[in-house]
Symmetry: C2
Subunit: 341 residues, 2 copies
């Protein structure tokens, strides 16, 4: 017993002198087993401390009732909310969830995909890493007729795949427009890696807003980085070379926040001298002084929608060709860092 020898249906079968197939059916509440027998079996099962071996079951049925999730980093607020949405829907639909973080490394992403694939998860939700410019690992998984839904970072490489994302262009356009409307004339942009479509869009939205308001684009005002905390500081340093800059739109909150803190130490008044807008609505954005105007992405809803799509694909593998995608509209949250008074 406590020797670690797990109880199997065969042990129950022997103990009651009932065939293991009947035991299996009883434990699965099959109507093919009489109520009397079923109860006898279930009683014996708990008595012996039986616990189903999912490995065996999954091997036989060729399903795991498990969804794999690959995201860059679970600690990031946005992804944490996405996960919450995923788990809620998955739970409702009777699926388990395996969460894996690529830490923005392609190498890890590939290893994770292989592991999930070899463990035969029923489908994968993925937000690709910043490094991901090759897609062989995803392609071979999809080619093998496995369901995949992209989250937040849709991949141009798989136009036929479902993906759920937000309108980055519009959000950026609106944020930049707000700064312009507040009278800011020289607006800088902290931009992310341009191999990621989402950061391209954010830059485009910024540029488009300037153009449409007849403000010429100054390339010197665009600072590209991976938007880490350190990048926020170093970009802020560079930004100070242009004293005319009176506005900043950062493609994420992390960089915006560390920039604000750095600028404050340099005696710059926020928002009086430089108005700032971030992206993501991280919890810190509410607490920092001044509180940060930012863009809220509906992560929870995205997670829910993506999971619904994936589950649909899992259940209807046939119509996999159909392209179901959704682009949600993020919300501009106006706080003090962008206001004149």
């Amino acid at each position: 017993m406590s020797k670690g020898n797990k109880i199997t249906i065969h042990d129950i079968s022997k103990a009651l002198n009932i065939d293991s197939s009947t035991v299996s059916r009883a434990l699965n509440n099959s109507p093919r087993v009489s109520v009397k027998t079923r109860e006898k079996i279930q009683k014996k099962a708990t008595e012996l401390g039986y616990q189903r071996n999912s490995l065996a079951s999954n091997l036989r049925t060729n399903r795991t009732n498990t969804i794999g999730v690959i995201i860059p980093r679970i600690a990031r607020h946005f992804f944490a909310t996405v996960i919450a949405g995923i788990e809620e829907t998955a739970y409702e639909e009777g699926y388990n969830v395996v969460i894996c973080q690529s830490l923005e490394s392609l190498d890890r992403e590939i290893k994770i995909m292989n592991s999930l694939a070899s463990n035969r998860v029923d489908g994968i939700l993925i937000s690709t890493s910043m490094e991901t410019s090759k897609f062989d690992h995803i392609k071979s998984y999809i080619d093998n007729n496995n369901p995949v839904v992209f989250i937040d970072r849709p991949s141009e490489a798989f136009p036929e795949c479902s993906n759920i994302s937000i309108d980055n262009f519009k959000a950026s356009y609106d944020a930049t427009k707000l700064l312009i409307e507040k009278g800011r004339k020289h607006i800088a942009h902290f931009s992310g890696p341009q191999n990621i479509g989402l950061y391209q869009e954010r830059k485009k939205g910024y540029m488009s807003a300037l153009q449409e308001h007849n403000i010429s684009i100054n390339k010197n005002y665009i600072f590209e980085s991976i938007l880490s905390e350190e990048d926020g500081i170093s970009c802020a340093k560079k930004l100070l070379k242009y004293p005319e800059i009176d506005g900043l739109y950062s493609a994420n909150d992390t960089a915006a926040i560390s920039a604000i803190q750095y600028l404050k130490t340099k005696g710059i008044q926020i928002p009086k001298q430089i108005a700032v807008i971030g992206f993501n609505n991280d919890p810190i954005s509410e607490v920092i002084e001044p509180s940060l105007t930012t863009i809220h992405q509906p992560g929870f809803e995205m997670g829910k929608l993506a999971t619904e799509m994936l589950v649909h694909q899992i259940k209807n593998k046939s119509d996999k060709g159909i392209h179901h995608s959704k682009i949600l509209v993020p919300e501009l949250i106006i706080r003090k860092s962008s206001e004149n008074e």
Copy 2:
């Protein structure tokens, strides 16, 4: 091929007219297969797009090379750092990690344990939920000779089990002592649920510091809650009924931070009127004004150590009786919220 019929070793076996046992050994680099044959097999395997079925493999070998992790909430900074430590060590040791969050719900915790157990993870790292006062689910898992290591929230119910935690008493004692040394005479405490040992310890440390400095304990100054953001505000409200209070030690940062924000709106000067110390070193604690003095728990190290212990247990199931535990010393990080000038 793209019909979703996965390639198995038997397909390779047939294609090359080599027995499947040899194929299996070749793919596992067994020395029992000649180099020539092995290369032929591996070439064919990649050619056919073979991918091992871990379900079958794990069923046969009775090992999954996977560690299950159950924690209350992955989004919490402390747990995020613990996970980072777990993943790093697990990765080095060749284990996969499955991360699950109980969301502080016993019901979910039980479901997760069953799922991990039935998927035959090799061992479990757990930080129990706030609701967990019954331990049957953990007991039966342990009784079945499965390795478990407790993290952060050691369980008195399993003195024979390994656990890795911090010295909550000392950390609290030191924090309270600091406030006393700064001349604070009326120190309040935001305390957590007392069914959790860790919060008991934090309260004891607080009380002990007061006693040893000849400050009488005023029960009215102790506010118990689950230390959520809302609790921070409501406890701060109650605290204002005692205008003599000039210091606050909160058992977590979340409540401390929302309290500070509330108190600021009421015109209370922090730290001048009330000095504040939190617990956890959440990222926000650095950004809030005034920056929050707090206690840093070595989450990363805890995750690493716990994983090392668990892996050791997995590899040496025999000496499971041996009790390996470690209590780490957290670090008091002094920022502005506790300083007089």
